[in-house]
């Protein structure tokens, strides 16, 4: 996904950006994991 970054940054820097991006997303998901309380209507079809 971050291949385009290599045009502007050295490879090691784009790797760091990439890891930080995924870590942030994972953290967001884990932070709100317990709050999920709404059923998904397509499961009840």
């Amino acid at each position: 996904m971050f291949g385009w970054l290599r045009r502007y940054l050295p490879a090691w820097a784009s790797e760091i950006v990439c890891v930080c991006w995924y870590a942030c997303l994972l953290l967001l998901v884990l932070m709100f994991w317990e709050q999920v309380n709404h059923g998904f209507s397509y499961l009840a079809l």
């Binding site: 998901v29 709100f32 994991w33 709050q35 999920v36 709404h38 209507s41 499961l43 009840a44 079809l45």
Partner: protein
């Protein structure tokens, strides 16, 4: 369902289990994994799927017209009985007793129709069982086609790039479901809505928007997890969404929202009716009606299906007029922005039918949207 730690455990055990075995065992392990998963979460549904799977494979071998129609009628009857009684009886069950019924009945119908038309590639019962019990598509699709699945099954091998994309896709799916749908749309956006007068135009508009966003994010998020999980197993599934919110007409919208169901309705409802009657408008209405009834057997969904069907028919007539009169303004940016706004609001207002529990409440929402007391 996917937001449970035991689901993550199922994924982890399945993926490690499949790749740790020799290639010749992997298809069987995937099937066993799907059966175990279904048996754990939805035992009744697993039993029904096993019975229908064996019967459909046997009927496909017969290739007799009378048997084919009898089997199609029987499947439609099972679907109708489930829709009339099953949903009401069992959808509140904590083990999702009938999980995935509406999805696998369409996949079985697709298999038998293609087998009857002799369009399926050579395969055996194990291939079909792997298709029916493929764990990633058991709960909300996509409605994968058998020939595509079998080709993927034959070509699959461990690919680092595909594995990495699969992990990324699963993460994006979870972000959509957990963060965007449940937190942003259903919690924060809901708090904003609660501050408004429930009979105001803004509240009606906001609640339609909230329903549409939540539906899109949840459904496409679930599909992302399914597609990502399949990629971890080396199988590339069909996409179910391709940026529907960027489309500038209702025809394109329905080709990019729940694409696999749209394609199913196109192949098995629209095409036969259009070919036999030479009336594409009638075929479009019938296809959208089936599309709607697949969701729910109710008056509000019949109205919703006809609303969408009429929208597509009107758009088709308009497109033909533009072609006949050689109008070129439709390619201009200002027109495309207007067309996008019109399409999005056409879809947004249609959610009034599906978000409300009955026709009366839907009409009330329309009254609020129009500012009529």
């Amino acid at each position: 369902m996917i937001v449970q730690f035991d689901f993550l455990l199922w994924m982890l055990v399945g993926v490690i289990g499949v790749w740790s075995l020799p290639l010749r065992w992997q298809t069987h392990v995937m099937t066993a994994w799907g059966i175990a998963f279904m048996g754990y979460y939805a035992p009744y549904s697993a039993g029904l799927l096993a019975i229908l799977g064996v019967a459909s494979y046997s009927f496909a071998k017969l290739r007799k017209t009378a048997w084919f129609w009898l089997w199609v009628a029987l499947l439609c009857a099972v679907f109708a009985v489930y829709k009339c009684y099953g949903v009401r009886e069992f959808s509140s069950s904590p083990v999702h007793a009938w999980l995935g019924v509406v999805f696998y009945i369409l996949r079985i119908l697709h298999y038998n129709i293609e087998a009857y038309l002799r369009r399926l590639p050579a395969h055996n019962g194990c291939d079909y069982a792997a298709y029916l019990f493929f764990m990633p598509i058991l709960w909300v699709g996509p409605l994968e086609r058998f020939e595509n699945f079998q080709q993927q099954l034959k070509q699959r091998h461990f690919n680092r790039d595909m594995f990495s994309r699969g992990l990324e896709r699963i993460l994006y799916g979870y972000v959509k479901v957990v963060v965007l749908a449940n937190v942003l749309v259903m919690s924060y956006f809901n708090e904003l809505l609660q501050g408004l007068d429930a009979s105001s135009r803004l509240y009606a508009y906001g609640s339609c928007l909230q329903y549409g966003l939540n539906l899109y994010l949840q459904f496409s998020g679930y599909c992302d997890v399914a597609i990502g999980l399949a990629a971890l197993l080396g199988i590339r599934l069909q996409e179910n969404f391709s940026a529907p919110w960027r489309k500038t007409n209702v025809g394109q919208f329905w080709q990019s929202w729940h694409r696999t169901l749209s394609q199913w309705c196109r192949d098995y409802v629209f095409m036969p009716i259009a070919a036999s009657t030479r009336k594409p408008a009638l075929a479009t209405l019938a296809a959208m009606l089936v599309f709607a009834l697949w969701h729910e057997f109710s008056l509000r969904y019949v109205i919703w299906g006809l609303y969408q069907g009429l929208g597509i028919v009107i758009w088709q007539r308009w497109r033909r007029s533009c072609e006949v009169r050689a109008w070129t303004f439709t390619a201009r940016p200002w027109w495309r922005i207007c067309a996008w706004l019109l399409t999005m609001h056409f879809i947004l207002f249609s959610f009034a039918w599906t978000k409300e529990p009955n026709v009366r409440a839907a009409l009330q929402t329309y009254k609020h949207l129009l500012g009529v007391e």
